[in-house]
Amino acid sequence: MNRVVVTGLGCITPIGSSLEQFRASLFAGISGIGPLRPFPEAPSGDPNNPNLRFSRYAEVKNFDPTPFLSSGLIVASDRSAQFAILSSRQAVKDSGLLGSHASERIAIVTGCSTGGRSAEEHETGRLYSVNARVHPLTVIRTMSSAGASYIATENGITGPTLNIATACSSGTHAIGLAFQMVRAGMVTAAIAGGHEAPLTLGFLRAWDSMRVVSPTQCRPFSADRDGMTLGEGGATLVLETLDSALERGAPIYAEIVGFGMSSDAHHITQPKAEGAAAAMRRALEDAQASPDEVGYINAHGTGTQANDAVEAAAIHQVFGELASQIPVSSTKSLTGHSIGATGALEAMATILALHCGQLPVNAGVTQVDPELNLDVILGEPRAVRPTLAISNSLAFGGLNAVLALRAY
């Protein structure tokens, strides 16, 4: 079994579109959550009246792919796939991966749940409203796997390449499966992460109808939390065997040591603590680690009443008396919830915490819900360098994925 390390990071997120910007915002607690853009397509006829009960989300502001992608690629891809291409380009460059592994021995695993929402809504909206013809590139733009294909094409990678769609756990499942592939020796390296661009009016209205979006802003684990905040973005990790990283002198950010998956087998939206707890336990067992080694939990932490209460209960089930002493924070307090991408953004935040010796703050919260009995990081990041951390993803439908990571 190979040891697997992270040797490259890249991102396009609401809190930064480079590793350096993301790291700076993460540890300064700078939130990417802001007001909604105007919606010229709003059926109300008023771009400033999208008929939503919430007014904030986390957007990648001023995203412009034109300096970086050819016009042909831009027209043949949705914003989501563009996040994948550009974040992976950063990560591959950061790691210096290309040329040091055979192209057929590199895997690509992306997490994207909703595909090309912008293209889909634009085309179907025109089809059903004015019987417009559907653009011939719509199929390509809407494929959830387009990002994976474009990463492969850009880098000439011919190894196993696939996309995982497990809603809010997609990015974590993608990284976890890539980790297993490298560890088992199926490949020697992998490009893995998540990307999503779901901030379309139809998607926002769908979430609005579910009544789980905060009318103000997500405040994970807060006593007065009132829902999630939607976001978008992409994050990519380069994984490879420790041996190859050492041999070529690659930068090593952290080691991935365990991956746990589970299903609640319970309800399509209501989470169940036993399911989340099982995924955390399996990640620790996989890492051959004991609960008392965990020094930081990057929580799924959506900010909804149900998620945060159930996740806290799961943490108590796994860690027992230690649960209230382990520092916890949710990256979504800064980045919003970017669905299929969010697990990758959070894995990156966890890796940076281990690498930089700082635990990121759980922003926007002044009083933690005492019922949860957790050590939520408020105010300032903590200058602590844990040896082991976990990153939780708990998706709608009860699909849970947890990564265990060690400082290197």
Binding site: S71, G72, V75
Partner: protein, 89 residues
């Protein structure tokens, strides 16, 4: 829907060249009737895209097999002219 009347081959050619020019960003330069798609750097997706726009502008339907045989701007103009003539007969 009102259909625009295209009175001459020159008009058709001028419009087709304009559409090809706009296929890329920034726009292509020096597109002529004799420009080949290979020389212009247009791939199969560009051709499908272009055909979609040509169909919209001229209110015609280009048969699938015709798209596969497009090699140069002149082929588009010939095809459009032929389809417009068929429609007007």
């Amino acid at each position: 829907m009102t259909q625009t009347q295209w009175n001459s081959r020159e008009e058709i050619a001028e419009r087709c060249i304009a559409l090809v020019t706009r296929c890329k960003t920034p726009p292509l330069e020096g597109v002529t009737l004799n420009s080949s798609f290979d020389d212009l750097g247009l791939d199969s997706l560009d051709k499908i895209n272009l055909s979609f726009e040509v169909e919209d502008v001229f209110s015609i339907q280009i048969p699938d097999d015709a798209i596969n045989h497009l090699r140069a701007v002149r082929d588009i103009v010939d095809g459009v002219q032929s389809l417009l003539e068929q429609r007007n007969q």
